[in-house]
Assembly symmetry: D2
Homo-oligomer: 304 residues x 4
Amino acid sequence: MEKVLNKIIENNINLTKEGKVADYIPALKKANPNNIGICIVDLEGNTYKSGDCNVKFTIQSISKVITLMLAVMDNGESYVFERVGYEGTDEPFNTLYKLDLPHIRKPANPMINAGAIMTTSLVKGGHGERFNRILELVRKVSNNPNISYNEEVYLSEKATGDKNRALANIMKARGMLEGDVEEILDDYFKQCSIEVDAVDLANIGSFLAQGCKGLESYGNVTREKLTSILLGIMTTCGMYNFSSEYIVEVGIPSKSGVGGGIMGAVPSKLGIGVYSPALDENGNSKAGYGMMKDLAKELNLKLF
Amino acid sequence: MEKVLNKIIENNINLTKEGKVADYIPALKKANPNNIGICIVDLEGNTYKSGDCNVKFTIQSISKVITLMLAVMDNGESYVFERVGYEGTDEPFNTLYKLDLPHIRKPANPMINAGAIMTTSLVKGGHGERFNRILELVRKVSNNPNISYNEEVYLSEKATGDKNRALANIMKARGMLEGDVEEILDDYFKQCSIEVDAVDLANIGSFLAQGCKGLESYGNVTREKLTSILLGIMTTCGMYNFSSEYIVEVGIPSKSGVGGGIMGAVPSKLGIGVYSPALDENGNSKAGYGMMKDLAKELNLKLF
Amino acid sequence: MEKVLNKIIENNINLTKEGKVADYIPALKKANPNNIGICIVDLEGNTYKSGDCNVKFTIQSISKVITLMLAVMDNGESYVFERVGYEGTDEPFNTLYKLDLPHIRKPANPMINAGAIMTTSLVKGGHGERFNRILELVRKVSNNPNISYNEEVYLSEKATGDKNRALANIMKARGMLEGDVEEILDDYFKQCSIEVDAVDLANIGSFLAQGCKGLESYGNVTREKLTSILLGIMTTCGMYNFSSEYIVEVGIPSKSGVGGGIMGAVPSKLGIGVYSPALDENGNSKAGYGMMKDLAKELNLKLF
Amino acid sequence: MEKVLNKIIENNINLTKEGKVADYIPALKKANPNNIGICIVDLEGNTYKSGDCNVKFTIQSISKVITLMLAVMDNGESYVFERVGYEGTDEPFNTLYKLDLPHIRKPANPMINAGAIMTTSLVKGGHGERFNRILELVRKVSNNPNISYNEEVYLSEKATGDKNRALANIMKARGMLEGDVEEILDDYFKQCSIEVDAVDLANIGSFLAQGCKGLESYGNVTREKLTSILLGIMTTCGMYNFSSEYIVEVGIPSKSGVGGGIMGAVPSKLGIGVYSPALDENGNSKAGYGMMKDLAKELNLKLF
C-alpha cells in the first residue's frame, strides 16, 4: 500500500507548483506550498502514510461535517433541516443573494458558509461551549485528544470575515438565525481554525466509512441515518458547486477545506486524508484533488 | 424476490391516493392513478415483477439520461460540458432566471429542462434525425425494439410548452444554443413523449448498473467514463433539487419523470423501474418514491 | 430659434462619429450615421427645424408611449397597472430574470420590453387590429396621416427577436400574459417598425406637452391623468436604467428608440424630436443625447 | 393659505387611523398615531402651518438627501456616482441581493439603504466628525440651529440594524465600501435619529426649491448641478419603488422617512413638510401621502 501512496505523491507533486496557497488571511499564507501528504486508515484502524502527514494545517470547511453531525445529534434531522436546506447548489461556497429573496426560507445546504453558520448556531451550549463541544467531537472522531485550534488563524478570520458577517446578519434579519450574531460567528471562526494533519482527516474519514461506529450516544438520530446524512451531503455538496464533477471524476464522498486538506470516506472500506496547501481556482487543494483521483482509480474506490 | 416486491407494493399502495396525476397537459391526466408497479432486472438479465408492469406511460424527464448519453458519445465529455454545467442546483426543474444573468454562461446541469434542451440540441443529425437517434438508443438500452412515442402527448406538450419555449429562446438570445429553436423543441417534446413501461425502465437501469455494457461503439467517450458521468449526474441532479435528500433517504442513483416513472441503477447489482402516476409536490411519483425507499432498505441497496 | 438649433447641431455633430448605428438587425444597419436633425414644435403648432428632419427612421421603443396610452384609454389605469408595474428599474431594457422569481407578478414598467409587450397585448382589437389602432393613434398624435411601417425592419425584428420571444413566453407560462404569444409579438414587432421623422416626434412631444389635448375621446381615463401617467413614466423609465441620470442632466421627460430618435415633452411649453442614428453604449442616440442636454440649457427647459 | 391647509388636514385625518406606526424598533412605537401636521415655506421664507407642526420625530431616510448633498460637495459628482448608482430601482428600500451578483459594482442609488450607507461613508471627516458635519448641514438648510438627535432611537437602531449590518458588510466584502463597517453604521444610525418637525422639513424643501441658495460654499459641485442631482434623484428614487407611481399621483420631488415625515420641494415655488407617523404598507406616511396629493392638486404644484 505504501508503495502505491508514494507513487501517487510522485505523480502529483508537480501540481503543488501550479496551485496557490490561500492568501485571504495573512495566517494562511504562511503554509509551505511544497508540502504534500496522503494518509489512509482502513476499518481495522491500520494506517498507511506517505509524505508530509504530520504537518498541521487548519481544518477550515471540513469542520462543517462535524458541526452538522453534532447539530443533528443535538436536535434531530427534521429540526435541523427545517433551518438549513438539503439541496446541492450551483452557487459558490459563500453565496448570499438568495437569502434576500422573499421565497427563500433557509440556506441551501450545510456545506456552504451560510448553512454552516446556521448549523453552528444549532449546536447546543451557547457561546464558547458550542465551540468546545465541536472541538471535543473532532478529537473523538479523529481519535486524537491533542487537537486544538490556531489562535492566529482564528483572529485573522475574525478580523477579515466581512462576507460571513454579511451572511449571518442577513439570516438574522430574515428571522432564520437565532442567537447573537457575533457570538455565533466567533464559534464559527474558531471551528474553522482547528488544527489537524492528514492522519487526523483519514481517521475522521474512517469513522464515517464504518457508519459512524464508536460513539457512546447518537442523541436524536440513529447511527445509520446519521451516516446516510453525512455521506449523502458530502456527495452532493462536499465540494460546493464542483461536487457533481468531483463525484464523476473521483467518486468518493469527500469534503475539502481552504487550508489544503481533503477528507474522504469510502463506505465500508476506508478513510482518506490528503494535504497540499496550494489551491486551484475552486479553492480545492490542487494536488489533493489529483491524489484523490489517482487513489480512487488505483485502489478501485469509486462509487460508480 | 417477487414476495418482497409484492409486499413493497402493498406497503405503498395507499400513497397512490395521496398524490396527484400530472394535469398540465390534458393527455397526461388520462393516466389511471391506481396503477402501481415495480420491476427489477439483475445483471444476468433476470426480471422480477409485481403489479402493473405492462402499463405504458411517457418517459418524460427520464429521457434526459439517454440524451445526455448520446450527446456525450457524439461530441465527447468536454464539448458537452462546455455547453451545459456539471452542477447540482437548488432551483426547480424549469428554472430560468440565471440564464439571464451576465456571468452565467450555460444551464446548471443536463437534468433540468434548460440543460436537457441543450443536450438534445447537441445530438447529431439535425431535426427529426436527432429524435430518431434518441429513440433508437432508448430501444437499444431497454432491450425493447417496439418502443415508440405517444403522438397525443407530444402534440399536447408542444401546444403548452411556454416555459420550455422561454428557456430555449433565452439560450438562443444569449448565444448558448445553436440551431433552430422550434426544431430543437420539437425533438425535445417528442423525446419526452416516448412510451415505456416499468420493465423498460428496469432494463435501462440494469444497462447503467453494469457499466453501460453492450453497445457496439461509445463514440467519443470511454464506457467507464460514460458510466461515471451518467450515474454521477443521476446522483447529484436526477431528482432535481430533491436529489440530495433523495440520496440520503434512498441512496440509489435515479431519475424520475412526471409520467410517474422512476428509473434506478444500483452499480454492479441491478436496475429498477417503478411506476405510479400520482405525483407529490416535487413532481416525483409519490408511491414510486415510497417503493424506492423500501427497496433500498429491504434489498440493502443504499450507496451509504 | 432656428439659429439656436443650428448651433446645437454644430456643437454635437462630432458625436455622430463616436456612436455606432444599431446592427442587431440588418435593416437598421442601413441608416446613415452622418444624419442629424432637431425639430421643435411649440404649443401653437409653430415648427422649428434644423438638419435632417425629413429622414425617416423606425420609431422603435418610442412607440411604447403610444401603446401605453392606448392600453390605458382602452382599459383604465388600474386594469393596466395590475398587469404591468409602475416602477423604474436599474435593469436594462430587455431584462428577463425577475419574471421567473415567484414573488414577482408583473414586469417592472411599460417602457422595458417585457412591460411593452404586455401593454401591446392589452390594446383592444385582437391580432392585426391591435397594430392598426396603434398606428392610427401614432398618426393622430403626430398629426401625420401618412405614417406607415417599414416591412423590412419588421421582418428582421421578427426573425431575430429571440429575447422578446423569451420574454413573452415566460410571461405566458407565468400566467401574466393572455392571448397568443406569436400574434402579440407580431403586433409588437410591427409597432417598433413604424417609420417617423424628427418632425413627427416633435409633434408627439408637443401633444404630450399640452396635456394630450385634441382627442375626441379618452376612453377610461381622464385627459389630466393620462398626461400625468405618460410624462411621469417617461421621467422615471423613459431612458431605461439611465433615466435617473438623464433627468438630472437633461431634465425633460423623454423617450428614446434604437432607431436613433429621442422624443421629449416640456410640460406646457413644447415638444422636441431629435434624430441621429449612431448610438452610445446604452442604446441611446449619442448626438441626440448631446442635443437634448444643450437644448435644455439653451432654452431653459429643465424641470429642475 | 392656512384655510387650505386646514381643509387638507381635515380631509386626511381619517387616514391616520388606517396606517400603522413603525414598530421595528421600540423607540419608534412611542409616536402618537393621531398626530398630523402640514407646513409650507415659500421662497420668501413665509411659513404656513396647520396641525401638529411642533411635534418632533426622527428624520430617518429624509437624511439621505442631506448626506448625498454633503458627499457630492465633498467629493464631486463623478467620484460619488462611481461608488453609488444613478438608477431608480423596483426593489424595496433595504434590498441586498444584487450586491452579491458578480456584475454589480455598486448599490443602485443613494436613496436605498445600501446606497445611503455608501454616501455616509463618503462624507469626509472620519467616525463621529462625519455625523457632526451631517447634523451641522441639516441645521443650516433647515435654518434651525437647535436640531439634535434622539439618543434612544439611535441606540435602538444600532441594536436592531441586522439588515443594515448585512448591507455594509457585503459592500465591504465586495470591495465597494472603504473604512470601518461599524463606525460607518454608527454614523448612519445617528443620522437617521436626527429629530425634526414639519417646519424643519418645509424649510429643507424650500432650500432645495430655490436651487440650494444660501450656502457659503458648494465644494466640488456647482449650485445648479447640486440642485439637479438632489431633485432628480428625489423624483426617481425618493419614494423607493413607489417613486414612479408617486410622481404620477403627486408630481412633486419628495423624500419620505419611516418616522412619518415627507419632505417635498416644488422647484422655484416652495417647500413642504408633512407629518403623520402611521405608515402604509410601503413604509410611507399614510396621511402624509394623502396630504401631498391634495396639496399638489389644490395649489397646482404638479410637475406634469
